[in-house]
């Protein structure tokens, strides 16, 4: 067992400084971009763009700063699980909150049982 202490070389992946700097610059650029875009009228797309940039920034941090690009499948599965579960929570809560006011019955349903689905 003792030989483990004597291992030579690096443990884990050493990321070149250049990569860190590139990621850093990209993140800074993303911050500037997202702030700048907020001042342009894109209608509904403002939100989409802002979130898309945030996701890209997150991926950069996760993959490079957090070394996930060089990590095992298990780590990736765990991260994906985290976001997947967050997705479950958001989706199914919205499934209630945002459909509560759908008073208009979908067409399919009114075909199943026409006698019920009239609007008052």
């Amino acid at each position: 067992m003792s030989e483990h202490g004597e291992q030579q070389g690096h443990i884990g992946h050493v990321v070149p400084v250049g990569v860190y700097l590139a990621v850093f610059i990209a993140l800074m650029f993303g911050t500037a971009l997202t702030t700048g875009v907020a001042y342009i009228d894109l209608g509904r797309w403002n939100t989409v763009v802002a979130l898309a940039i945030a996701v890209v920034k997150m991926l950069l941090v996760v993959l490079f700063f957090m070394h996930v690009k060089y990590s095992t499948g298990l780590t990736r599965i765990i991260i994906i699980a985290g976001f997947f579960w967050l997705g479950i929570m958001i989706t199914l809560s919205c499934a209630d909150e945002l459909t509560r006011r759908w008073e208009i019955v979908p067409k399919g349903w009114s075909m199943i049982a026409p006698h019920i689905y009239h609007l008052r």
């Binding site: 579960w85 199914l92 499934a95 459909t99 509560r100 759908w102």
Partner: protein
């Protein structure tokens, strides 16, 4: 291997030093990093909490003997069932099997010296105790009257009781769950001994793994939800308050996002225990190992997408109701798979009826009834009638008391010789098991009838036509109480006076039975190497499995 005449009291393999007597003194317990001792610390704590919750239950049942209420003001009764629910769920049943048996057994079963993070493990016990202290402070200083579900706006703006103390207690205890779950996930991934592949793991480990996933993924949500509730109550800001545009149903979504999976936190470990008991007492390999293993994972995953079935009549959108209803049916399937595989395991086994097995068989029957009545509630049309009535109360007690608590007791009895190195009087244990079974059914079966008749739950008084059934239920509860007190007595007795147990009194399979009873601090003399499947009991037509070095066949 075929030492037919071994007496259960045969001399232990190694007697001298074990985890219990390795060090003495209160400090050696309070500062221990040994997973086995931490398991025992938990055992003591949750037993205490169980009797606190149980006392509340007994008082409630006494109160309900009379339609007008025999003992308390309604306000006191409300505090009673709230305290009962909160303590039983968050401070007893959620940590019950994972934190005691799980802590004790996981490293033993996978052939490790300890869990991955022993300090974290000890810390999680301290956190748990802190949570208990908050809850007990809440109880002593006047209690809480919101029900265990804390629905706002009642809990945030109207209740005059100690909501914050309890919310904080649960918040804190939640972190203990998170740390325990985290520890287990890492331990099961990284600490298995050589040869212990995923598909050689005992099914108890699979179920603990599934449980830990729920701990890790669900508990943070209840923590933040209760934090928001406490903030709303303290600062009067109104996040769930409709007066300022909030939605009280959002709280319910977040609450059940955790609390529905939490009910599987309570049953999955029980299912794991049952898999161990059934195989050990019928001396057979489990039927359909992979199906039982994966059904645990399936339950853990699906449990996260059914929570809305608690909200069918709360004004949730019809569309969401339909989705949650169908998913609730889906989650029943893996449970069915488990039940049938256990039965198939019994087929052509060599079945004996020591107390743990009685609990296991009781579990299967009562869980089936509890689970199938869950289908009444998952069906939208019938839930409209049954929601909020004693039918729901009966449903979950059948699963949580008839199922989870039975499994817990079965597990404690099964591993008691390993934990303490002593045997308990099996005769009394069987009697107690029978009393529990009878008392349980008498308590909770009438509640199904009450529910269908329309008696709402959380009622301090009720119309007199419901009295007969209520009296039956109360009578049952006192029998049940006696049934729970008997094990308390003889188990404590056995710690001192019980006959000394051998390393493997049941002749069961599994690494934990290959080491001494009680195990040494480091669990195994040498880390075992596994090269056979779980539950590899001898069979009539001989098979050729080489004896594993390190896996002594007793």
């Amino acid at each position: 291997m075929s030492t037919a005449t071994v007496d259960l009291r045969e001399a232990p393999i190694e007697s001298s030093v074990n985890y219990l007597n390795a060090r003495y003194g209160i400090k050696s317990w309070l500062l221990t990093l040994d997973h086995k001792r931490i398991g025992l610390l938990y055992l003591g704590t949750i037993t205490f909490m169980f009797f606190v919750g149980g006392t509340a239950a007994v008082l409630m049942r006494l109160h309900l003997i009379e339609p007008q209420g025999a003992l308390f003001e309604p306000e006191t009764y409300n505090k009673m069932f709230s305290t009962h629910g909160i303590i039983m769920v968050f401070f007893f049943l959620v940590p019950s099997i994972p934190a005691t048996l799980g802590n004790f057994l996981i490293p033993l079963m996978i052939g490790a010296r300890d869990v991955a993070f022993p300090k974290l493990n000890l810390m999680s016990w301290y956190i748990f105790v802190t949570g208990c202290c908050f809850a007990m402070y809440g109880v002593i200083s006047g209690g809480v009257d919101t029900g265990w579900t804390f629905y706002p706006p009642y809990s945030s703006a109207y209740s005059q009781t100690h909501v914050i103390a309890f919310a904080l207690g649960i918040f804190i205890a939640g972190f203990s769950s998170i740390l325990t779950g985290l520890n287990f996930v890492v331990t099961i991934h990284k600490m298995r001994c050589p040869g212990m592949t995923w598909f050689r793991l005992p099914l108890f480990i699979w179920s603990m793994y599934a449980t830990s996933l729920i701990f890790v993924l669900g508990t943070p949500v209840i923590a933040i939800t209760l934090a928001l509730l406490a903030a709303e109550r303290l600062l009067h800001v109104g996040i769930f308050d409709p007066a300022v545009g909030g939605d009280p149903l959002l709280f319910q979504h977040l609450f059940w996002f955790y609390s529905h999976p939490a009910v599987y936190i309570m049953i999955l470990p029980g299912m794991g225990v049952i898999s161990e008991l059934i195989t050990a007492f019928s001396r057979k390999k489990i039927f359909g190992y992979t199906f039982v293993a994966f059904s645990s994972l399936a339950i853990a995953v699906i449990s996260f997408i059914v929570w809305g079935h608690h909200m069918f009549v709360t004004g949730q959108s019809i569309y969401a109701g339909l989705v949650f209803s169908v998913l609730s049916f889906v989650v029943a399937i893996p449970s069915a798979i488990k039940v049938f595989n256990w039965m198939a395991t019994l087929y052509r086994g060599s079945i004996s009826y020591e107390a743990p097995m009685l609990y296991a068989l009781g579990f299967i029957g009562l869980f089936t009834i509890g689970g199938l009545t869950g289908l009444f509630l998952a069906s939208l049309a019938t839930d409209v009638h049954l929601n909020g009535t004693y039918f729901v109360v009966a449903h979950f007690h059948y699963i949580m008391v008839g199922g989870a608590v039975m499994a817990y007791l079965g597990g404690i009895h099964f591993w008691w010789p390993k934990i303490t190195g002593r045997l308990y009087p099996d005769y009394w244990a069987r009697i107690a098991a029978a009393i529990v079974f009878i008392g349980f059914n008498l308590t909770f079966f009438p509640q199904f009838m009450l529910g269908y008749l329309g008696m709402p739950r959380r009622y301090a008084m009720y119309p007199s036509e419901f009295q007969v059934l209520n009296v039956m239920s109360s009578a049952g509860a006192s029998i049940l109480g006696i049934g729970y007190l008997i094990p308390l007595v003889y188990l404590i007795w056995s710690m001192r006076y019980g006959p000394v147990a051998s390393a493997n009194p049941w002749k069961a399979k599994g690494l934990e039975w290959t080491t001494a009873s009680p195990p040494p601090t480091e669990n195994f003399a040498e880390i075992p190497v596994v090269n056979e499947d779980a539950y590899n009991y001898p069979v009539a037509e001989p098979r050729h499995y080489p004896d594993a070095p390190g896996v002594a066949r007793v």
